[in-house]
């Protein structure tokens, strides 16, 4: 029997990333019955990943999952190290020198490109950037979006597109009560946006919304959700897809689109218009975005694998702002293996597949950077449970390969390197300050968007650090 996981030699696991997959991996390791030490490492001061920086401000109930993360973080054998970037502040080798295994849970933060002409014109953005911006992500606080145009195009028909629609169409009064970034409400209060075109490459029966999100758009006051009846005509393959008993979500969505097509014009300020069977071919404009061109598609292929094929027919949509919402994409980290084509870390049930140069490293992966950027918060719990099951089954191999030095701890390593890490008590101070300031503003929370301000509030030593926010400190 291996000694690893016993009181005299606890299993030491580093978890890179503090979003859902990271916390659930920590939970699974902590609940393994072994003696363990779990260190959750996060590059930002604040934990929770996309629960904090992705879930829309008007979906506060989903954010209650942080109460579970809080319970996990407060377990005696779980520690949080925020403001520590793996690959910069600490190398992967250094992590391996003070842990028996490393689990990558750092998600997918960049986006997929359309790779069409004009993609970099001012006015062409990603939904991921917009979401991070309105959610107060420190790296995106300086983003600007030209909201002076009347028409916005969103490429993609999933729940992120739905989030962008709601934030663009809700009133300042509604947004003001949430935890949306102050600068975002201010910018949105001056918005002239009237029409939001949500464009999908395939048909109504292939849109990726969950029916709840779509019905939420349908129910928005002061915003008409519309669709042209011709665009939602179903083909034979669609009928087969809709007849499948597991496809109830799509049946609901198609019914919602049908209702939208039968509506008469309501007298609303804003409109969300769903377009189907269109693929963008170019962004147009002189110095900034003025219009987009699309190829009309038809669907070919069998049910459940219908593909969009361009016809010769084209369409233009004038617009001043475009958000592509065609999926997040992962990035490589440090010198860990990476599958460039799929944008994830190659693995077998969570055990990282290492090439010859990387054999005998105890590397694991969970969450979006393991299986790609799909699924919702809870999907990552089941995923992390699988990864940790694999890790625990590998215990003997992990013990043999471990490079962890018994007398080296992550805390002492970071202190020696003078990295001002945010531990969980520090985070609780930042959290309390955000709630306090939020209360004075009538919001659920006012997030700090400056890393330096968070470190100040956490009572960390910021001497020698450059202040990262133009203008006045929010700490005042």
């Amino acid at each position: 029997m291996t000694k690893l996981g016993s009181e005299s030699r606890p299993l030491r696991v580093a978890i890179v990333g503090s979003g859902p997959s990271g916390f659930y991996a920590a939970e699974a390791v902590a609940n393994s019955g072994l003696a363990v030490e779990v260190n959750i490492i996060e590059k930002l001061p604040a934990p929770f990943g996309l629960v904090r920086y992705g879930v829309a401000p008007d979906h506060p109930k989903l954010k209650k999952v942080t109460m579970i993360f809080h319970q996990i973080a407060e377990k005696p054998n779980v520690n949080y190290f925020g403001n520590v970037k793996v690959g910069e502040d600490v190398s992967l080798q250094e992590l391996e020198s003070c842990h028996d295994a490393v689990v990558f849970c750092y998600g997918a933060e960049t986006d997929r490109q359309l790779n069409i002409p004009g993609e970099n014109l001012p006015g062409s953005h990603t939904a991921t950037e917009f979401v991070a911006w309105y959610n107060g992500h420190p790296d995106y606080k300086n983003s600007t979006f030209d909201l002076s145009c009347e028409d916005v195009v969103i490429i993609g028909q999933g729940n992120v597109a739905a989030d962008v629609c709601r934030i663009l169409s809700k009133s300042v009064e509604e947004l003001n009560k949430t935890d949306i970034a102050e600068y975002a409400v201010e910018a949105l209060s001056k918005s002239k946006v009237r029409r939001i075109h949500v464009v999908g490459r395939r048909g109504a029966a292939q849109a990726k919304f969950t029916s709840r999100e779509l019905k939420e758009l349908e129910a928005l006051p002061n915003c008409l959700s519309s669709v042209d009846a011709e665009e939602i005509a179903l083909n034979a393959a669609d009928d087969i897809e809709l007849a499948d008993p597991t496809n109830y979500n799509t049946v609901d969505c198609v019914e919602a689109f049908k209702r939208m097509s039968e509506q008469s014009d309501a007298n609303t300020d804003k409109e969300i218009k769903f377009h189907f069977l269109l693929s963008p071919t170019a962004f147009h404009g002189h110095e900034k975005l003025e219009a987009m061109s699309f190829a009309r598609n038809q669907l070919i292929g069998e049910a459940f694998s219908q593909a969009a094929e361009a016809t010769d027919s084209t369409l233009g949509i004038p617009c001043g702002l475009c958000f592509r919402s065609i999926g997040y994409r992962g990035k490589p980290i440090a010198d860990a293996p990476f599958d460039e084509r799929r944008g994830l870390v190659p693995n077998e049930k969570g055990r990282v597949i290492c090439d010859d140069s990387n054999l005998n490293r105890n590397l694991y992966v969970s969450g979006w950077i393991k299986r790609g950027p799909s699924g919702i918060i809870g999907t990552n719990r089941a995923d992390s449970i699988e990864t940790v099951e694999t890790l625990l089954a590998d215990l003997e191999r992990i013990e043999n390969n471990s490079k962890a030095k018994a007398d080296l701890s992550l805390a002492s390593l970071l202190q020696h390197k003078r990295i001002p890490y945010v531990d969980y008590e520090h985070w609780k101070r930042i959290d309390a300050a955000e709630l306090l300031v939020g209360k004075t503003l009538g919001k659920t929370r006012n997030k700090f968007t400056s890393v330096t301000d968070m470190l100040i509030v956490a009572n960390l030593d910021v001497s020698g650090i450059d202040y990262d926010y133009p203008g006045q400190s929010e700490a005042y």
Binding site: V65, M67, T210, I376, G378, T379
Partner: protein, 101 residues
């Protein structure tokens, strides 16, 4: 709007839903599971996880299952939390096929 486990769960009790729940709000009875409506955060991860579509969001609940709303609340109060998947009941796979899934 919380989610409700209907009595479609009876006879199968796959428990595929349990590990997708981000807040572990499932409670286990011998024959079926129940969701604590106060703990549920409406993420809907459990709905597609169930192989036989036994779970509905409250507003989508077919009329014939209305009585399950109160039953979930009541039973969740009495029964222990279930955090890990378990073996389904004997005959679960056959029942799933019979139901057309």
């Amino acid at each position: 709007m919380p989610h409700i486990v209907t009595d479609k769960c009876l006879g199968c009790r796959f428990t595929e839903c349990v590990e997708t729940c981000p807040v572990s709000c499932f409670h286990e009875g011998e024959d079926q599971l129940f969701i604590d409506p106060d703990a549920c955060i409406d993420c809907s991860a459990c709905v597609p996880a169930c192989p036989i579509h036994a779970i509905y969001e409250d507003c989508d609940l077919p009329d014939e299952f209305e009585h399950m709303v109160e039953i979930n609340e009541e039973k969740a109060g009495d029964l222990p939390v279930i955090r890990s998947k378990q073996e389904p009941l004997p005959g679960a796979e056959e029942r799933k096929t019979e139901l057309g899934f």
